[in-house]
Symmetry: C2
Subunit: 213 residues, 2 copies
DNA sequence: AACGCTTTAGGCAGATCTACCTAGGCAATA
DNA sequence: TATTGCCTAGGTAGATCTGCCTAAAGCGTT
């Protein structure tokens, strides 16, 4: 069991400056963090698949794909890894935009290592929580997508029209027999792995189903 | 009906610089915004009660209570008015902290008025949405607090133990008769203004009841 | 053609919910 | 003391849910 790479959360480091990569890697490794460094955004994207928990220390200004573009790319692909930006010559507008896009922090070089450590720990903590709730969300969505069309329709009505969700009402809404609604609802609850309509509503809301916005 | 002060959302402006106050007030008023300017954070606090919808344009560096302190104070008192910081000599750390604390924007002086207008419109839009959902949240919490102790207990169980919330289960949990649970549940649904347990669960989650964190 | 899945729908029995009623005990209040 | 509100609990009747069974029609796959 000497495979330390699998142990805990990982700190991804993306910076085109080899000196920064080397010094930060060394410093963070010494403090017990699992560090994986990349010289460019594309190198990182090639290696990152979202399965490894961790945070991303990201240089804002890089040749090729810059930090903001990488952040945007990750966001668009559903990766919510917390990002700590580090920058050599960015300004307030850049930091504000990064924060608006969901960055958890933005540090100017040079910075104290103690500060970085602090921010990394905070980022890893948020990541831990996010992963936890995300597991349930993912499960809920997958289960929902495994429903048949009609079942999805029933699930949707049960979850959104919470005020009047008797078989009668739903049957009238869909123009079918209450018995059929009973049947579908039973399938829905079974397939969604819940024991009541209330639990279905809870799971749906927490997973953001039917929420759009 | 010439009372324009009551019409739409309001732009609160807090800056110790009289020149800025005057020029921004004029510019924004000309563009149709309702502007109320204050020379200090405390002046604003004396006047602001949270009932007026609007956004806050806030100078970061001010003598006395500064912008960040005002932001913190508002946050602690449950006021979620969106804040756009403006600053003369702040840096990235200041902007990042402000954003982390929930500011919607952070602009360096000098800035183009068109940019400010843009950000104000965005802030007012978020405020509009927040107010809307906040109304329901408030209503839910008030209704919950108007329940008796036992009713709150029942409501809590119904909302959190969604998997097994039959009268039997709850009765066993509380050591009382299922009939009594029936009675309380009926009271709860009536007083909470909902038509089903599912709707209660929905309202509770959306209002953040029983969520702690 | 045979099979499986989906949607539809009904029967039936038992559990549960809901809405109406009564009613006693208890504590705070008028 | 009388009243009010809360918690408790039961009766009854009707509505609804739930789980178990059957079954037909349509559609796509093997």
């Amino acid at each position: 069991m000497s495979d330390t790479a699998m142990d805990g959360p990982c700190v991804f480091l993306v910076d085109d400056d080899a000196v920064i990569r080397a010094s930060l890697s060394r410093a963070l490794s010494l403090r017990g963090y699992q560090v994986v460094a990349f010289a460019s955004a594309t190198d990182f994207l090639d290696a990152y698949d979202g399965t490894t928990a961790g945070c991303l220390i990201l240089d804002y200004g890089m040749p090729g794909m810059d930090g903001l573009q990488l952040q945007k790319h990750l966001k668009e692909n559903g990766h919510k890894v917390p990002i700590i930006f580090i920058t050599g010559h960015g300004g307030i507008p850049e930091s504000v935009q990064a924060m608006k896009m969901g960055a958890v922090d933005f540090l100017e070089k040079p910075f104290k290592q103690s500060i970085l450590i602090e921010r990394i720990d905070a980022a890893l903590e948020t990541e831990r929580k996010r992963r936890k709730s995300n597991l349930q969300t993912k499960e809920t969505i997958e289960r929902y997508q495994a429903l048949t069309e009609r079942e999805q329709e029933i699930a949707s009505i049960l979850s959104t029209h919470t005020g009047q969700n008797s078989s009668k009402e739903i049957a009238r809404l869909l123009g079918i027999s209450p018995r059929t609604v009973d049947h579908h609802r039973a399938r829905v609850l079974e397939k969604m792995g819940v024991g009541s309509v209330a639990e279905l509503v809870e799971a749906s809301i927490k997973a953001g189903l039917f929420t759009e916005t």
